[in-house]
Structure formats: C-alpha cells, structure tokens
Amino acid sequence: MSDNGVLMPRRREAHPDAYYPDYKTSVTRAPSLPLLSMEATPSEETGPRFGHGLIGALDNDLIRNYATGEGLAIGERIRVHGRVLDETGRAVPETLVEIWQANAGGRYRHVKDSYFAPLDPNFGGCGRTLTDAEGRFEFMTIRPGAYPWPNRANDWRPMHIHFSIFGHAFGQRLISQMYFEGDPLIERCPIAATIRDRSQLDRLVAPLDMQNSRGMDYLAYRFDIVLRGRRQTMFENKPEGM
C-alpha cells in the first residue's frame, strides 16, 4: 500500500490563496466555496512511479536537447540543482522532476506565445530528470529572460523556471516556480505576491551557488524542494480491515 505512512495534512497557509485579484485570471478561476477536507486515502497515498527507462540522455540538458547540428541554445549557461525532501527531512528518491521555461529573451516555444522577442532555433525549453537515491537532481539550461504579460498594463514576470514534482503519492503532486536571487521584478510580480508568507516566497528564490559553478563554463543556482510529509506512528498502517 503506501510506502511511508499517512500523508500529513497540507498547510494551506503556506500556499497562495486561490483568489488574488491582482492576478486577474485568478478572479474567475478561484473556487468560491471552501474545499472539502478529508483524510488522505489510498487514492491519494499512492501515485504514479516512473522508471529510468523513461529518461533520455539529454532530457535534463536544455542547452542541447533541442539543438540541431552544431548549434547550442543562446544565453547565460546555468546549472540548476538541488534536492527533493519531504517535510520530515527525508529525501524523496527516484521521483520525476520536470521543468519548462522561456528562452533567454523571455519567449516561450508555444503556439500561443506571440511576444515579439525571437525564438531560439536551438532551444525548446523543456527538461526532466529523476532524483537519485539522496533526492538530488540537476539541470543544465540557459537563464530565462523576463517577459511582459497581459495582466495590469505594465506587468513583467521575473525570470523563472516552472517546476513540476510528483513525489510518491498523488496527494504530494506539486507545481511551482523557481526565481533567481537578486531579480528586482520578484517584488513587483502579482503571481509571486499570491504567497502571503514572505519566508515561503523566499524559498522559491534560488541563490547563486558559486561553489557549484564552473569557471569558464556555467554559473550554478541551488533550488531545494520540500513535498508533503508522511506520518509514521505505531498505531497506523496496521493490517486489520485491509
């Protein structure tokens, strides 16, 4: 059944509220009634698992995984690395981490992005990897540019990389965004501002990690991710009734 016990309740105050009018799209897309709370069941404590057979050799290298011929993606070469842990501090091994992002000019390779910054013919913008036995992951990519978006008249997203993490339970499923240390647009972004707790927002801001940068090659940023934890007590997960 579940490999690690009952999921701890999600701390909703650590997350954005659904309704945040400065982020205009949320106004019509936020449920107006309260969520129905329930204790997690096997439907939430199990979840899809993905094996190494899924992952291609270049899947976590966005500089090269869309490149044609000799060309490489244009932009600041960076390494993004970190660990996936749960709330009890345990590593989450062998879990799928997916990322997507704009190119160095802030343009997405998506049929619906019409921003006039050009596409980079050697940059796709998606990557994925599995964490190792200690929960570590890493990506090579280029630093995405900031871009304007139709919210208020002069809103610009800070540089960011979207992250999708599975964990081992469907109830741990999480999508978030990583920002970059020192970006002045973070303070001005209504999406970042949906997070009420400043210390929680800070946890989405990846620090520059010179120790793991490589001279004449790339800068590194460190981004650690925490998923919901699982409670383990003497009295749970007993077989009676199963």
Binding site: E44, G47, H110, L227
Partner: protein, 199 residues
C-alpha cells in the same frame, strides 16, 4: 521554551501558467523531438481488464466560459480496485493520464478502464472513482477532485457522505451519455461549483 519540532514546510505552489504544456505535454505546445512521446498519454495499454470507458467534459470558469488552457492529471485503480504496484494489480493499467482541454473546443477526453471499488485503510469501501488534479493559468494551487459514476452505487461512499449540501454531491458524478461513455464537467466557481478537496 520547548524543543523545536524541526519540521520543514512544503514548498509553496505557484500557478502552472499558460504554457504548462511545454513541460508536461510538449507536443500540445508544438514541441517535437525532445521526448519520444508525451508522458501519461494513456492510463491503460492493450489488454487492460475491465470495461473501457471514455469520459468527456469541459472546465468552466466563473463566467461559464470553457477554458482552453487547462491541464488535467488523473490517477485511478484498475478494474479490481488495485493501484499500480499493489499485489495482483493489472500490469496493463498504469493508472496515470495527462490530458489538456482542446485549444478550439475546450473539451477533454479521457479514455480509460472503469476502476473498481477501493478500500480505505480502515476497511471502508469507496465507490469507484478517478482522482483528478487540475492546473492552469489563474489557478494558484492545483485543484483535487474526483470523478464518480452515476451507474454505480455511490450511496455509502465515505467522501461523498461528507458533503453537507447534498445537492453538491452531483458535481462529482459523471453522467452516462452512451454505451461506456460519460460526461464530467468541472465548474470552478459559481452555480454548480464542483466540490474540490483539501486532502
């Protein structure tokens, strides 16, 4: 003073944004060749035991507009109520699917096997259901809900029993629209608002 609990806090969620497909369903975004195929194309492969069904629907915002940029993930048990990895689970059921609403029509279709009854840890039976997770631009934290089926016995399902306003139970029950075909619409806000779960 007391001892510190030393508990970490979950990373806060952020919206998946309008371009979620780039990372999760690249071919939908027009990106070919990075991965051999999109992840979670189908929750079943050939030979899955049980009744093969399709669930079609739309997701409506608070104005009644069918959203064109939502992404769904579904997770379910096999026809015998076993999740992948559990003993005796059907190897042809991965249980996981990713799908998007169509750019033009705003409709989605999920083709899968109808799941069986799953038991809670306490032993209580849950009526057949598919867990659903929804992300999109404007949704700050992914929404969990469930699809039940109108031609199943939902009367004693523990989750449905928790819904105080009984007329809201209907928002979680797919309507049978044909042979092995169901309709399940999601309403984010307003009249007929779907029940979303805090799990």
């Amino acid at each position: 003073m007391v001892q510190l609990l030393n508990q970490l806090v979950e990373t806060p969620s952020q919206t998946a944004g309008p371009y979620v497909h780039i990372g999760c369903i690249p071919t939908f975004a027009g990106i070919e060749g990075v991965y051999p195929e999109d992840l979670g194309l189908s929750p079943i492969s050939d030979g899955a035991r049980g009744e093969i069904i399709t669930v079609t629907g739309s997701i409506y915002d608070g104005t009644g507009w069918a959203m064109r940029d939502a992404m769904f993930e579904s997770w379910q048990a096999d026809a015998a109520g076993r999740y992948p990895g559990q003993e005796g689970a059907d190897p042809a059921v991965s249980g996981f699917c990713r799908f998007a609403t169509d750019k033009d029509s705003g409709e989605f279709t999920l083709r899968t096997v109808k799941p069986g009854v799953v038991h809670e840890c306490s032993g209580r039976e849950m009526a057949p259901h598919i867990s659903l997770w929804i992300v999109a631009r404007g949704i700050n934290i992914g929404l969990h809900t469930r699809i039940y089926f109108e031609d199943e016995d939902n009367a004693s399902d523990p989750l449905l029993a928790r819904i105080e306003q009984r007329h809201r139970v209907q928002t979680l029950i797919a309507t049978k629209i044909g042979d092995a075909a169901y309709r399940f619409d999601v309403r984010l806000q307003g009249e007929g608002e779907t029940v979303f779960l805090d799990i």
